[in-house]
């Protein structure tokens, strides 16, 4: 077997770099745009695309029945994400466009727009510089399946589609209370969203077409169309129930829009589990290792193995074990580094727990080049930890471990002879837990993209949360977002 057909040793810096800079997605977006637009001169096109750097601008479609609050949500999202809001009205009202003028005359005569004309208007608008640079939010477009297909053939595809849904009775009632401010175009409601200033109150008018019959007719048409539009966007639809306060709908929509969809990028998980003693780190690590084939690296275990093997590092560690003091970080790092550099860890990925315990250790690990790409903090309240650990017992004859509450021993005979490890006494546990919490704030600051989980649930629930954290890409924060202020422009 010659060197070119043997498995390649890829230096681990390459996949780490690829993941950190999202190279796969970069190339995928580039290729997508090349295939959709098929420019005559691909190289200048690629240069322009790279310079624009608009891969992650918002491309959102908001659909929903009349009176669901689409326009309100769309406007708030537009302000928050600093993006352009496009609706049928705004497209028709455009100046300096012959297409828009045609559309206006058509709309005045027939009250509707032919699909082709609407889609061409949309295409024209989306080609403008500000839509390319800041993204777009479509409010209520596409209205029918034909429009959806036409938009697709143009190569316009949204990244997130939000569908608002609510029971028809709620919507009909809601629509009766709809009021519009003719000056600003903002939508208010007699019951849910009444403006405080009396001058706005005075000038509000009820828009046309909000009677019960009218709303019912529009709802019927909406349902007929929506069923056929949804299959066009198979994986990117999120249905949010509109039968809740506007602010909640907005928050759900915003969180969804900030999630990044899974891509086909190659990904080797390098998971770090942090948590106080008894939070379930070893169990979760074992589950992860079993299901995804990762290598389970338990730091304490590694050190004990080194001592037992009487290796060079083992000899260095043994005096610390004998004196029962903490092993210094640089020795741990050496042993750990040796393990993480082995081929199976590099290829399959690893799950690490038990190290680092504080900020200095984390910095040391980072500087040696072992950067985890998913970090989880398991939070468990003190009482649960006490319950989990103080009831642990070991059978001295068989070596089997049991738990008086979760996995009681099968017979009374066995129970009589069970022993408790001295490390599981309450004071010991309290000491170790306090040690962890002293350092955890710094650790959380160091690992900024860490995910915090409630560890006080049954192991398989916690495992599911960890799984979804590992598999889904980390949410991408839109630049310039002010997280605490919502909805924009309103004083709470």
């Amino acid at each position: 077997m010659d060197a070119t057909t043997a498995p390649h040793r890829i230096p681990p810096e390459m996949p780490q770099y690829g993941e950190a800079n999202h190279i796969f997605e970069l190339m995928q977006n580039l290729l997508e745009q090349l295939l959709i637009q098929q420019p005559k001169d691909p190289i200048p096109f690629m240069i322009k695309h790279l310079q624009r750097d608009s891969d992650y601008v918002p491309k959102i479609v908001i659909l929903g029945p009349p009176a669901s609050g689409k326009t309100t949500i769309a406007m708030w999202l537009g302000k928050h994400l600093n993006s352009n809001l496009l609706s049928v009205e705004s497209l028709i009202a455009k100046e300096y466009s012959s297409l828009a003028a045609d559309a206006r005359t058509h709309y005045q005569k027939f009250q509707t727009l032919p699909d082709v004309l609407l889609v061409r208007l949309l295409q024209e608008r989306l080609r403008e510089e500000d839509c390319i640079r800041r993204g777009w939010i479509l409010d209520g477009i596409p209205e029918t399946r034909e429009q959806a297909l036409l938009i697709q053939t143009l190569g316009v595809s949204p990244r997130h589609v939000i569908v608002l849904s609510a029971p028809d009775t709620v919507l009909i009632e809601r629509n009766l209370g709809k009021r519009i401010d003719p000056q600003t175009g903002e939508i208010y409601h007699t019951t849910f969203d009444w403006p405080p200033e009396s001058e706005i109150q005075d000038r509000l008018i009820a828009p046309a077409g909000i009677s019960e019959g009218e709303t019912a007719r529009r709802l019927l048409e909406y349902h007929r169309n929506m069923v056929r539009i949804l299959p066009s966007y198979p994986k990117i639809v999120k249905v949010i129930t509109a039968d809740q306060p506007c602010v909640d709908v907005f928050y759900q929509a915003l969180t969804y829009v900030q999630t990044v969809h899974r891509s086909n990028a190659p990904f080797t998980p390098r998971v770090l589990l942090c948590g106080p003693v008894g939070s379930g780190k070893s169990l979760q690590a074992a589950l992860l290792a079993q299901k995804y084939g990762l290598v389970n690296v338990c730091c304490g275990q590694l050190l004990k193995e080194a001592v037992a093997d009487k290796s060079k590092y083992g000899e260095m560690i043994r005096p610390f074990f004998e004196k029962e003091t903490a092993v210094p970080s640089y020795i741990i790092m050496k042993v750990l580094g040796q393990r993480l550099d082995q081929q199976d860890c590099v290829e399959r990925g690893w799950v690490l727990h038990g190290f680092p315990r504080d900020r200095d250790q984390a910095c040391l690990m980072d500087s040696m080049g072992y950067k985890p790409n998913r970090v989880f903090f398991l939070n468990v309240p003190f009482d649960s930890i006490i319950e989990r650990l103080t009831l642990r017992r070991t059978d001295p004859v068989t070596g089997e471990r049991s738990h008086l509450m979760y996995k009681p021993p099968p017979t009374m005979e066995i129970q009589a002879r069970l022993l408790q490890s001295p490390k599981d006494s309450e004071e010991q546990i309290r000491l170790r837990m306090e040690l962890f919490y002293r350092n955890s704030a710094e650790l959380q600051e160091f690992y900024r993209q860490a995910i915090t989980l409630n560890g006080d649930q049954d192991p398989y629930t916690v495992f599911e949360y960890i799984e979804s954290g590992v598999i889904n890409p980390l949410p991408k924060k839109v630049p310039g977002l002010r997280a605490k202020e919502y909805p924009p422009g309103e004083q709470s």
């Binding site: 070119t4 390459m14 295939l35 240069i47 790279l50």
Partner: protein, 150 residues
């Protein structure tokens, strides 16, 4: 159905005509090898160079030069007998992106020696340079010759 497949065929032809996949593979390899801090800013000058190379025939930095080709040959010829088998030769050309999977190459029964390997690789690279659309593919080819450091 018909319309879908014809657009797909159109798209594939476009990719082949402009050799997009090879270009993207080259860019990705460059990024992963050099690992610049800002990938986009790194890629833009490379593409600019390519653009001017096509237009003006100025030399374009290739990934492999003659010493690389010789090193590759030595890797293939692990038992040092001085020649490689025809199958190895075909695989090597595929890895370099110089021949497609179904191209038929003639097998003259003897092994491929190092000189023949280098000669074939250079010839194919120049053929490809000649095929890509440039204002002046002649001058581009001769510029590429200069660069394949003899």
């Amino acid at each position: 159905m018909e319309a879908n497949s014809s657009r797909e065929i159109e798209a594939r032809n476009y990719l082949e005509k402009h050799r997009i996949m090879e270009l993207l593979t080259y860019l990705t390899s460059a990024l992963l090898f050099f690992r610049p801090e800002k990938p986009r800013e790194y890629l833009i000058p490379i593409l600019e160079q390519l653009r001017t190379a096509k237009v003006s025939g100025v030399a374009f930095p290739f990934f492999m030069d003659n010493s690389n080709i010789a090193a590759m040959f030595q890797m293939l010829d692990s038992s040092n007998k001085g020649s490689i088998s025809f199958i190895q030769y075909k695989e090597a050309l595929k890895t370099l992106g110089l021949c497609t999977a179904d191209e038929v190459l003639k097998d003259d029964g003897h092994g491929i020696t190092c000189e023949k390997f280098m000669y074939e690789v250079n010839k194919k690279t120049q053929e490809i340079c000649g095929k890509t659309k440039g204002k002046d593919s002649e001058s581009y080819r001769s510029a590429a010759e200069l660069l394949l450091l003899h």
